[in-house]
Amino acid sequence: MKLLKPSLIALSLLTSCSVLAEKIAITNTTIYTAGNSGVLTNASVVFEDGKIIELNPSSIKADVVINAEGKILTPGLISTMNQFGLVEVGAVSGSRDGSAKKADINFDPSYAYNAETTLIPFARKGGITRSLIAPSSWDSVFPGQAFTILMNSEFDSVIDTKTAVIANFGGASKDSRASSLIELIEKLKGQQKKLKDAEQASAKAEGDKPAKAKEPSDEEVTLTALLNGEKPLIASASRSSDLLQLIKIKQQYGVNIVISGGEDAARVKSELANSEIPVMIKVVSNLPGSFDSLHASLTTAGELEKAGVKVILFSSDSHMAKNLRLDAGNAISYGMSEQGALKAMTSNVADVFNMDAGEIAVGKSADLVLWSADPFEISSKVESLWINGEQVSTESRQDKLRDRYISKENKPRGYIKP
């Protein structure tokens, strides 16, 4: 058994990376579980084969023991609506794959995903270990479907595709906002009728020779999954009138609707809470950017939390995704509870999008972040980070540029290769 300080973790992982079955324990830590266990002080967690196997065991049996010296351990943060691997440089069209010319409800951008993007290591500095990657396009009601990745930069890091359908509602420059709602309703109604017809046909066919069932189209499969409530529909909308329409759609068709944006969501917070519709909020989006968001406020996340709405905090800026934890800090400043803010970046996301992570609990994926201090504070940083039980570095290209230019070596910078 090895007893290690956090500073030695890197070393230990170097020697142990080939032994994946190793059992690792983090002891003497304050665990923000993001689950029902709340905050556990002087606690320990043990993980093996990528899963958490013990929380606060009475005795520690592990191959590697890391003494966290009282520091805070949280689940890895889960960002949403990002475009990691779908964009390198925003204005470089050849590096931009997040929107399709002919997008539809089935467009799957995961075919374009690049695990080796420079954006992911930078985002890890903010403790992000998983992400829901979403296509984006404002020209179409349905830009496509989101997929799920691990933030470990590995070639096999796409762990789920077609995780959720994305849809845009609200004010549009070229059309009435009614059109996009009607488009969704018509699709759902149409599919509902097809399913009913098929059911009747098969009932009628019983006794006779069974009718050959027609293979459903991709869109029909998607719509059926929406009608079953199996697949979430992430609906970008903000104005209270649009939110109320979406609540009606959930009531009428059973679609598992998740609001994203939701600048004015506090206007209808009890309606949203009663309908059990989660809301994804950009904390710092507090200006009336349009007539859809006249009530945008820094207090929205906290108000929704208090009303009983499941809140997810997000920022669609992929290059600066690492600031998600600081957005959460600002949400706390303006009324959100500390643990609520953490859940809004971990367990709430996992619940809504069916991820086996986002909580420090036995059986969950060992996505863990050890923080130097308060995870929401600017002065803090990630000390160590594990994704599926494996430690991953937070070093990025930016660090190498910095080290090249602050080097005291007396030779042209081009020859200095940190």
Binding site: V87, E88, V89, G90, A91, V92, T118, L119, S173, V284, S285, N286, L287, P288, G289, S290, F291, L294, H295, H319, M320, K322, N323, L326, G329, N330, I332, S333, F376, E377, I378, S379, K381, Q398, D399, L401, R402, Y405, I406, R413
Partner: protein, 460 residues
């Protein structure tokens, strides 16, 4: 900046003088009014305020613990310990931090306001690569709710700039962040004008896509040089006119040219350059361009690669205004490092500034500076709060040419002050009270001091 109102006394005096000096009678002297849209700013109610027992970040690089700040008649009267004043309203500063009012050198509030609707896109006159004749103050909508949000974040002074679509995009204007129905009511009295220039991708994209020059970076350079060649000639014409007139001749005044008026103002040293310029090689050329035409290169904004030439920036006495970590939205923003401002700041005579260019981060410039300070310290720098606050205060004031008026807590300066509930470099910090010229303009605990824009009134 001196005021040059067309003075009838001067004209008649000149006419009189001309009568007795030459053979030809002189026509009235022609001079250009340099301040045709003058400030009408009036401070709000100025009280005598004494903040006691706070941690004071002076903006001059000092941190004073358990100290007092006294404001009288709109001006900082004293900073130090055990200051007494019988008639002052005393504010208990225990546990609180006091800083100079925060200054953002790069904002588009009012010109690209909220709501961001079609009829509000007034920040970028992209009809010609050189539009030095436009003044962004003529675009400002004072009811932009972003001004209120920025004030709640401690912003007391801000420079509004035109956008970066043009090589030379027009004049910027410095404002006091005070509610007013007019731009003039916010205009910072006697602040010099700024001139927005832009390097790199934006101008060449805007005009290249229309198949007109500039379509390349070398086209950009040719565009600036042509403009300053014209301005140099214009300046010479005016100087000759003044010389001849003073000699008693009756010269014809040069034909008035709004574009060249502004560029001449740069050559005369009256108007300061604010140059959107990301890349090391471009900033370096812009400093040479300034030498070629004998003006000061001013401040580089969004200077993503400033860290690569930080020594040269300091040697040339220019400022660099930076974000903590915006990157990757354009090729020229790919080489960001989080410690950029700290590297720039590490050279003597440097002028590192943290700016927003955003209606969102302008509300938390303190946090933007904190990100740089802490990440730089993680990387081995030793920057404290006393230093980091200068990036948002005194250095910003220097860039705008108002460092004799605001930007630090020193006796005699304007009473632009923020009281923070705690260390302003924390994510949990909030501006509790904000003062401009000694008048309280924001109080987080008192609705009476929370202004609301006309636009939002009755819509909440």
């Amino acid at each position: 900046m001196r005021k040059f109102a067309l003075s009838f006394t001067a004209i008649s005096l000149a006419a009189l003088l001309s009568g007795c000096s030459g053979n030809e009678a002189q026509d009235p002297h022609v001079s250009i009014n340099k301040n045709p849209y003058p400030s009408t700013y009036k401070p709000m109610e100025q009280l005598t305020i004494l903040i006691k027992g706070a941690t004071v970040l002076t903006g001059t690089g000092e941190m004073l613990s358990n100290s007092d700040v006294l404001m009288v008649d709109g001006v900082i009267k004293a900073v130090g310990s055990k200051i007494e004043n019988g008639s002052a309203t005393v504010i208990d500063g225990t546990g609180k931090y006091v800083t100079p009012g925060i200054i953002d050198v790069h904002s588009h509030l009012g010109a690209y306001p909220s709501p961001s609707v079609e009829s509000h896109q007034d920040g970028n006159e992209m009809t010609n690569p050189v539009t030095a004749e436009v003044w962004v103050e003529h675009s400002i909508w004072p009811q932009d709710p972003g001004f209120e949000a920025a004030r709640a974040g401690g912003i007391t002074t801000l420079q509004i700039l035109p956008g970066s679509g043009n090589l030379i995009g027009g004049r910027g204007v410095t404002l006091k962040n005070i509610p007013s129905p007019t731009m003039q009511g916010m205009k910072f009295p006697d602040a010099p004008y700024g001139l927005k220039m832009a390097c790199g991708e934006n101008p060449k994209r805007v005009y290249g896509s229309r198949k007109i020059t500039p379509s390349t970076r070398m086209g950009n350079m040719a565009g600036y040089r042509n403009a300053f060649v014209d301005a140099t000639e214009y300046k010479r014409e005016w100087e000759k006119y003044e010389r001849d007139y003073a000699a008693g001749k009756n010269p014809v005044a040069p034909e008035r040219n709004l574009t060249l008026d502004t560029l001449k103002g740069v050559l005369d040293g009256d108007i300061r350059i604010h140059n959107h310029c990301y890349k090391a090689e471009e900033m370096s050329m812009m400093m040479d361009l300034a030498k070629e035409f004998n003006y000061h290169a001013g401040t580089f904004h969004h200077a993503i690669e400033a860290y690569k030439i930080a020594d040269d920036l300091a040697k040339n006495n220019v400022c660099a205004a930076m974000w903590p970590e915006w990157w990757g939205f354009k090729m020229e923003a790919f080489d960001m490092i989080q410690e950029n401002a700290a590297v720039v700041d590490s050279y003597q005579n440097s002028c590192a500034i943290v700016h927003s260019d955003s209606d969102t981060t302008i509300q938390r410039l303190n946090q933007e500076a904190a990100k740089i300070m802490y990440r730089a310290n993680d990387a081995g720098f030793k920057i404290d709060e006393a230093k980091a606050i200068t990036w948002l205060t005194l250095n910003a004031a220097k860039s705008l040419g108002i460092e004799d008026k605001t930007g630090s807590l020193e006796a005699g300066k304007q009473g632009d002050v923020v009281i923070w509930n705690q260390n302003p470099f924390s994510v949990y910090a909030k501006a509790e009270q904000v003062f401009i010229d000694g008048a309280k303009v924001f109080d987080i605990n008192d609705d009476a001091y929370q202004a609301k824009s006309d636009f939002l009134l009755g819509q909440d």
